[in-house]
């Protein structure tokens, strides 16, 4: 396992999704929101040829100081799982820090999620929230809201601002509502 360096105050996030679910867009919005929150941020996809439905990953790094690390993320502090069917296929908790957190888009309770990890598991039914507000199962913004509440890493106002900027107009407002509902749904 990659040695963790004590001076490094960096927070690393890994997002698991399927091609087409907006895994990269989510990393991008979260990095922008962290940046708006006054931090240094870096967002990047797992580089390669993306195919619709195939398991993909994206990453976010957040730090108080400039981020120059160009290696991939191996020991995330946080993991986000956009699609719970990936849990059987991908080692979503791989390298996750023991005191970290894994946020899963699922209608189940955290204790019913079968992931082998010491880290805290948080669930939110982001798809249901997305369907309610958007009429489509595009759950990124809701999931980002849950992440914002569960981690405190990003300010809610920054997240809302970026969502409005990304989607604009009525769609933007609907996404902000989805984000806020998921924010409230998490302890």
């Amino acid at each position: 396992m990659e040695q963790t360096v004590c001076w490094c105050g960096m927070e690393q996030i890994r997002i698991h999704g399927r091609g087409g679910q907006g895994c990269v867009t989510m990393a991008s919005m979260m990095a922008e929101a962290a940046f708006e929150s006054g931090k240094h941020a870096q967002g990047f996809p797992s580089f390669g040829v993306e195919r619709l439905g195939a398991p993909i990953e994206s990453y976010v790094r957040v730090d108080e100081r400039k981020i120059t690390d160009r290696s991939q993320v191996y020991n995330p502090d946080y993991v986000i799982v956009q699609d719970s069917t990936l849990i059987e296929l991908v080692d979503v908790a791989g390298g996750l820090k023991e005191d970290g957190m894994i946020i899963v888009n699922s209608s189940k309770d955290a204790e019913d999620i079968d992931i082998d990890t010491e880290a805290k598991i948080v669930t939110v039914d982001a798809t249901e929230i997305a369907l309610k507000h958007l009429g489509r199962p595009i759950m990124n913004t809701a999931l980002a809201g849950a992440f914002t509440r569960a981690t405190g890493l990003i300010k809610k106002e920054s997240m809302a601002g970026i969502i409005r900027e990304t989607f604009g107009g009525e769609i933007g407002e609907k996404n902000v509502k989805a984000m806020k509902e998921a924010y409230e749904a998490v302890e």
């Binding site: 990393a27 922008e32 240094h40 967002g43 990047f44 580089f47 160009r70």
Partner: protein
């Protein structure tokens, strides 16, 4: 004002500020997003450049040459096989003394086919008379576009320039940058003012046939222009720092940048984005009281030999970590560093690590291993390091290699 931009959008913003007259474009991963974003800018009227959709990279470079010969400011972008296809006309561009600026999203070369990054594509253009800049981060990739235009279009230089950034690692990362506008750039980057242009009212030929009694002298002048470019880069980087406050190795004439190298016993030399990761390892060793540092050439051609010799001469061991292999004889950067150092009589052992080819991730642990190996050769003579160890392949998967009989 600082904003979050993806590398390809950031490069497109820098190109917009430089306001080229002509942009011939042909897509190739992972560069495509640069010219796609520029095509949007042109379509939306944000940029008035003539955007020429061409049928190949050969045509892109040829169109760029034609436009540059007519006096235009020209931009295009490519990488990998695309750069190979441009290579034939690009060698002519330098011989014809035509300034062009290309963004190269560094990517490996076939075969096997790979879309991921390394420096083998631009290193293969080493001898083509093109100035080569390498960026460590997205901001530098943006700034190098402006610096490249300023140097390339200087009438004493008048050469093509490659502004290189690591494919995917920098083109597809989103990070905070300070964009600049055409207006902000106006004092730094003047309108192009060429001495000779193709002009129907005053016809002339460019790039014509030269007999043996003339050819050598044309190549000599390209070489001299390359060497002169070092002074021009130094001036440009200094003036850029005055205007924008961003400094790129000012104490080394903008040709190289160092990180904690002043008193370092072990110095790691590398190009581009990998240096960002190495910084963390240097800090880690420094915290333990071990003197490790980085030397990062920002420019590969012209080769900053004087600046490198100066910062490397007091090291006890040097590691050249590079995303290139000159098949049949070591990595290209190491060959040049050894030539530079050993021609001064230096006997510092120089190890050459081949790493990060075709997008293989260079992890912090890999870099720690390279540092440890380099520490071991401190104080040894180069010949004692062993010929067979003259280049070391990082994280080579020996278990999937064929047996010795089959190699």
């Amino acid at each position: 004002m600082a904003k979050m931009l993806t590398g390809y959008n950031a490069v497109a913003e820098a190109v917009k500020a430089c306001n080229p007259d002509v942009i011939p474009a042909y897509p190739i991963t992972p560069q495509t997003d640069i010219v796609e974003r520029i095509s949007e800018m042109v379509a939306d009227g944000e940029l008035t450049s003539e955007y020429v959709k061409v049928d190949s990279e050969f045509n892109a470079a040829s169109t760029a040459i034609g436009a540059s010969a007519a006096g235009a400011r020209v931009f295009t972008a490519t990488c990998s096989q695309g750069l190979k296809l441009m290579s034939e006309p690009l060698f002519s561009a330098s011989g014809m003394r035509l300034p062009l600026v290309l963004a190269v999203a560094n990517r490996s070369l076939s075969a096997p086919l790979s879309i991921w990054g390394d420096h083998t594509d631009t290193f293969a253009e080493r001898d083509g008379g093109m100035i080569q800049f390498y960026a460590e981060d997205v901001q530098e990739a943006m700034d190098n576009i402006a610096i490249a235009y300023r140097v390339a279009e200087d009438n004493e230089i008048s050469l093509p320039a490659l502004s290189c950034l690591d494919g995917f690692i920098l083109t597809h990362v989103q990070e905070g940058v300070e964009p600049f506008s055409e207006e902000e750039l106006s004092g730094f980057l003047p309108q192009r003012d060429p001495i000779y242009t193709l002009d129907p009212s005053n016809p002339k030929t460019m790039g014509a046939y030269a007999r043996p009694e003339h050819w050598t002298e044309t190549r000599y002048t390209v070489h001299k222009a390359q060497l002169k470019a070092k002074d021009k880069i130094a001036d440009a980087v200094e003036e850029f720092a005055d205007i924008f406050g961003r400094e790129y190795g000012l104490e080394h004439r903008g040709l190289i940048e160092t990180y904690r190298a002043e008193d370092a016993d072990v110095i790691l030399v590398a190009l581009g984005s990998i240096c960002g990761t190495i910084r963390y390892i240097v800090d880690e060793y420094r915290k333990k009281g071990e003197k490790i540092g980085i030397v990062r050439p920002r420019v590969y051609r012209p080769f900053p030999v004087e600046e490198l010799n100066k910062v490397l001469e007091d090291a006890e061991a040097i590691a050249v970590i590079e995303k290139d292999i000159s098949l049949g004889y070591q990595g290209g950067l190491a060959i040049d560093i050894k030539s530079a150092m050993y021609s001064t009589g230096s006997r510092i052992p120089i190890l050459n690590f081949i790493a990060g080819l075709a997008g293989r991730d260079v992890r912090k642990d890999n870099i720690r291993k390279m540092v440890e190996q380099t520490k071991e050769v401190r104080g040894k003579n180069p010949e004692d390091v062993g010929f067979e160890n003259e280049e070391r392949w990082d994280s080579l998967r020996t278990e999937i290699l064929p047996g010795d009989d089959e190699l």
